[in-house]
């Protein structure tokens, strides 16, 4: 399984890191999981700079990106990645507590691949994380449908 791409988790809250790791662990994904604690570090990782200059050359299978981060926030990271033609293909999933509409709309405008509001229920959270891990390791899908009238309206 050495050819599996890593999964990058960008999260500042240690509780969320632990819970997310527990969920990914339970899904029995063999991918290596890299963790960055803020947006600046995440960009260093992605561009192989600073502490991450010597990291594994493969791009992550998916970036699980928290919205609210110290230094450089999630939307800024997203904008940087999706604004760079060489980096644009890296799938990014916004993983966030926020239910603010504007974040969601802004994320899709920036080209996010998925936007997941962390459910309060642990079961739901586990399922969401597992789905994300498995799904993004295999194939891409268009962003989920933002509410609108059913298609033939």
């Amino acid at each position: 399984m050495a050819d599996l791409k890593p999964i990058l988790l960008v999260e500042d809250n240690p509780n969320d890191i632990e819970l997310t790791l527990a969920a990914l662990e339970k899904s029995q994904l063999a991918n290596e999981i890299a963790i960055c604690r803020d947006g600046a570090e995440a960009l260093d990782y992605l561009y192989r700079r600073g502490d991450h200059a010597g990291r594994d050359a493969r791009e992550p299978a998916v970036v699980l990106l928290d919205l609210k981060l110290p230094k450089v926030d999630g939307l800024e990271v997203l904008a940087a990645v999706k604004g760079d033609p060489g980096m644009r293909s890296v799938p990014i999933v916004m993983l966030t507590s926020s239910r603010e509409e504007s974040d969601l709309v802004r994320s899709y405008q920036l080209g996010v691949n998925a936007f997941v509001v962390k459910p309060v229920g642990f079961k739901e959270f586990f399922e969401a994380i597992q789905d994300l891990g498995v799904f993004w390791a295999v194939l891409n899908e268009p962003p989920p449908h933002r509410g609108g009238w059913p298609s033939n309206a």
Binding site: S97, S98, G121, F122, W149
Partner: protein, 759 residues
């Protein structure tokens, strides 16, 4: 302002008004006239009564030079002529003696300009003329008169003194001071007499007695005299001189013949001599002094000059009295207006400020009633018509158009007949409109004042057609018997200062309304700012409050699944309870955020098919229903609506999931979704179930935030779902309501405005 109170027959007025008095071309015979032309003062017209002089028959003066025909006059006339002279009317130059065929005679010489000609008039001097009427002799009396005027307290006093003094100077049987009202009817306001002629005091004379062109002559030529109404008019020859090609304009002539109608009028009044002096105040004709004598009577020039002087002094005094009375009133009303402005500034709205100080509002216009109208709100003060009557009156006022700031009438019924029904409270109306765009206004009312007017003869018979059938001639009435008339539907007139005070109030209200609008704009900015803050607050709550709940749930879950074996049953129960509590707290935060978003987010309305939406939501709701539970759905035809789909989805979701939730114990569940017939531009939808229903006593609590009608063990929920429903529907401009019977089911209705009504 309102027009004539007494409709006079238009044909009569027109006939009388068109008589060209100043072009009659004849003179009274107590003097003669010469019209001379520049530059050499050649006589081009003369009256037919020029006296014969030695060697010069009177009839042969036309064509001669004035200096040749009347060398005695030449120097005086030459000094008093010229195109720039005589604009103010005839000027007396001096008394001259002329040699005539019948001896030496004295004449008072007057000169004035008439078009291209200089008119020289020679009035025979009266025998009385002499020392007693010289300016020196008159001076003490004039002084005494002026002193008396200063002391006069009222306008009536002033007029009384004038009448007495004029009669004393002229020796007429009766002197009247006659004042015009706004319709040009005249009222005798003061009288002095010796009893030979009847008293006319307080009598009113119709406007047609002194027609418009006569009034204009009175304004231009202040003093007129008719020594003998039985005179035979003297023609002027030639009537039209070849050098000017026009009849002589006698407007300023002192000898001018008067209208035959007027002479007849005098005869009908039983007077043979008359004199009238115009009273001009600020250039306008205020009234007349009208003197009469039963027998023919000449008044010497000096006496006439003295009367003219008295009258002008009187007019000045009158103007200053009226002006100072007006100034006092303005000051008083200004103070009232200032107070009202203060009240309006302090009050929440201008109308509240006015209404709260009704005494001042009434005092401002001297009204007995007032109405302050803002939109559909009518605040009535004192004596007013009913609300419906005011509403129609206001509509009529608005429909009149016109851009005047203020509307005033003292006889509303004459221009707005429905006002006849409430003449007793509102014969007078003063109204200001506060805005062009909205119908806000302030109206003041005055009650009817029934007036009895004594006319000098029946005013409807002011003039009659010639009984002999002459088409163009008019004959004045024969009888001057007092004729009483009762005037109804009239209020005391609004004074100019009162009307101006209303105008000022209007300006003040507009200023206040404008300032309020600015304050509102500032407030709305402030609101927007605090709304932004609230948004930021919600945002941080959504992150920072929600996360700990997730963590509690997550770690408790891990504890249960990974360390559960090492816990006792009690320990596992504790963990379950922690999970449940944290989960519900987290859900509560979610719901609260949704609720606040509903109020903040902009509506993005589009047309959509309601049946498709309901079907989509129905399927979603059914996913949470246990497989074994049968639910019978009856969904009618719902049509299309114009709404924000995201928000409307929440409404439907809440209603359908509630219906499913509260029918849980019902073995045979029926849920009906339908559309009732449209009502007043609204689409009406309902969701009906046959579940546990609710007690209508609590219907008021149903749509409140955190209001629950059941214990948590019975039915889960945070009590925010229906609050969301109401908020969303109301933001769309619709309504929600519910009906229920405990144990039998509930029906929830909501409406959405049709597109036209939607804003």
């Amino acid at each position: 302002m309102n027009s004539a109170a007494r409709p006079l027959d238009a044909a009569q007025l027109t006939a009388c008004d068109r008589e060209p008095i100043h072009l009659l071309g004849t003179l009274q015979p107590h003097g003669f006239l010469l019209a001379v032309q520049e530059p050499d003062l050649r006589i081009v017209q003369a009256s037919a009564n020029v006296p014969d002089r030695p060697g010069q028959p009177g009839g042969e003066v036309v064509g001669r030079l004035l200096s040749a025909a009347f060398p005695e006059l030449a120097e005086a006339v030459a000094g008093g002529t010229g195109p720039d002279r005589g604009a103010e009317g005839a000027r007396y130059l001096r008394t001259v003696g002329l040699e005539t065929a019948s001896g030496s005679r004295l004449y008072d010489l007057a000169v004035h300009r008439s078009g291209p000609l200089t008119v020289v008039e020679l009035e025979e001097a009266t025998a009385e003329a002499g020392g007693e009427l010289s300016l020196d002799a008159l001076s003490p009396r004039l002084n005494a008169f002026v002193e008396g005027l200063h002391r006069a307290a009222t306008v009536a006093d002033l007029c009384g003194q004038l009448a007495a003094e004029v009669r004393r100077l002229t020796g007429f049987d009766r002197a009247l001071v006659y004042r015009f009202d706004r319709d040009w009817h005249g009222t005798v306001v003061a009288e002095d007499g010796n009893g030979v002629l009847p008293s006319y005091l307080d009598l009113r004379f119709p406007a047609s007695d002194i027609p418009a062109q006569a009034r204009e002559l009175y304004r231009r030529n202040r003093l007129r005299i008719i020594p003998d109404a039985g005179y035979v008019p003297v023609p002027i020859v030639p009537a039209v001189p070849p050098s000017t090609g026009a009849p002589l304009d006698l407007s300023q002539s002192i000898l001018r013949s008067v209208s035959p109608v007027h002479v007849e009028y005098m005869r009908n009044m039983g007077t043979m001599a008359s004199m009238s002096v115009s009273i001009l105040v600020d250039g306008g004709l205020w009234g007349l002094i009208s003197c009469h004598n039963k027998a023919p009577r000449r008044v010497p020039l000096q006496a006439r000059n003295a009367c003219d002087l008295l009258t002008r002094v009187f007019a000045l005094q009158l103007a200053s009295k009226e002006r100072s009375a007006e100034a006092e009133e303005r000051l008083r009303l200004g103070a009232v207006g200032g107070r009202l402005l203060g009240y309006m500034t302090e009050a929440d709205s201008f109308s509240a400020g006015l209404f709260g100080h009704s005494e001042d509002l009434l005092a401002l216009a001297g009204a007995d009633g007032a109405a302050v109208v803002v939109g559909d709100q009518y605040r009535l003060i004192g004596l007013t018509p009913g609300k419906g009557e005011i509403q129609r009156l206001r509509d009529w006022l608005a429909g009149r158009g016109g851009d005047e700031d203020v509307f005033a009438t003292d006889s509303l019924g004459e221009i707005y007949p429905p006002a006849g029904d409430f003449a007793d409270v509102a014969s007078g109306l003063l109204a200001i409109s506060v805005s062009q765009t909205s119908p806000n206004s302030v109206l003041w009312f005055r009650p009817e004042v029934v007036q009895t007017v004594k006319w000098g003869g029946d005013p409807t018979k002011a003039a009659t057609q010639d009984p002999a059938g002459g088409p163009a001639r008019l004959h004045p009435r024969k009888s001057f018997e007092t004729w009483k008339e009762t005037l109804r539907g009239r209020a005391l007139p609004w004074t100019v200062p009162q009307i101006d005070a209303a105008k000022d109030l209007r300006a003040a209200i507009l200023g206040i309304v404008l300032r309020r609008a600015e304050e509102l704009a500032a407030l709305s900015e402030e609101l927007q700012r605090s709304n932004k803050e609230l948004e930021a607050f919600s945002y941080s709550v959504s992150h920072d409050l929600r996360a700990p709940f997730r963590h509690i749930v997550g770690y408790s879950e891990l504890l249960r699944s990974r360390e559960g074996d090492r816990l006792s049953d009690k320990g596992r129960h504790y963990v379950d309870t922690i999970i449940e509590a944290a989960f519900s707290a987290g859900t509560l935060v979610d719901n609260l955020l949704t609720f606040s978003q509903m109020g903040r987010n902009a509506l993005k309305r589009v047309f959509g098919d309601m049946n498709l939406l309901v079907e989509e939501v129905r399927r979603k709701v059914m996913r949470d229903v246990p497989a074994g539970r049968p639910i019978r759905w009856q969904v009618g035809s719902l049509g299309r609506v114009y709404a924000d789909p995201v928000m409307l989805r929440l409404v439907v979701e809440n209603l359908l999931s509630n219906a499913v939730k509260y029918t849980r114990g019902q073995p045979d569940t029926v849920i009906e979704v339908g559309r009732a017939p449209d009502h007043k531009g609204e689409a009406v939808f309902y969701v009906r179930d046959n579940g546990i229903g609710f007690d209508m006593a609590y219907v008021g609590k149903l749509f409140g935030v955190f209001q629950r009608l059941h214990r948590v063990e019975e039915f889960e929920g945070t009590g925010i779902g229906l609050a969301n429903v109401r908020r969303i529907v109301e933001r769309h401009g619709g309504r929600v309501w519910a009906e229920g019977v405990l144990g039998q089911g509930a029906t929830f209705h909501f409406t959405l405005p049709e597109r036209m009504e939607a804003r």
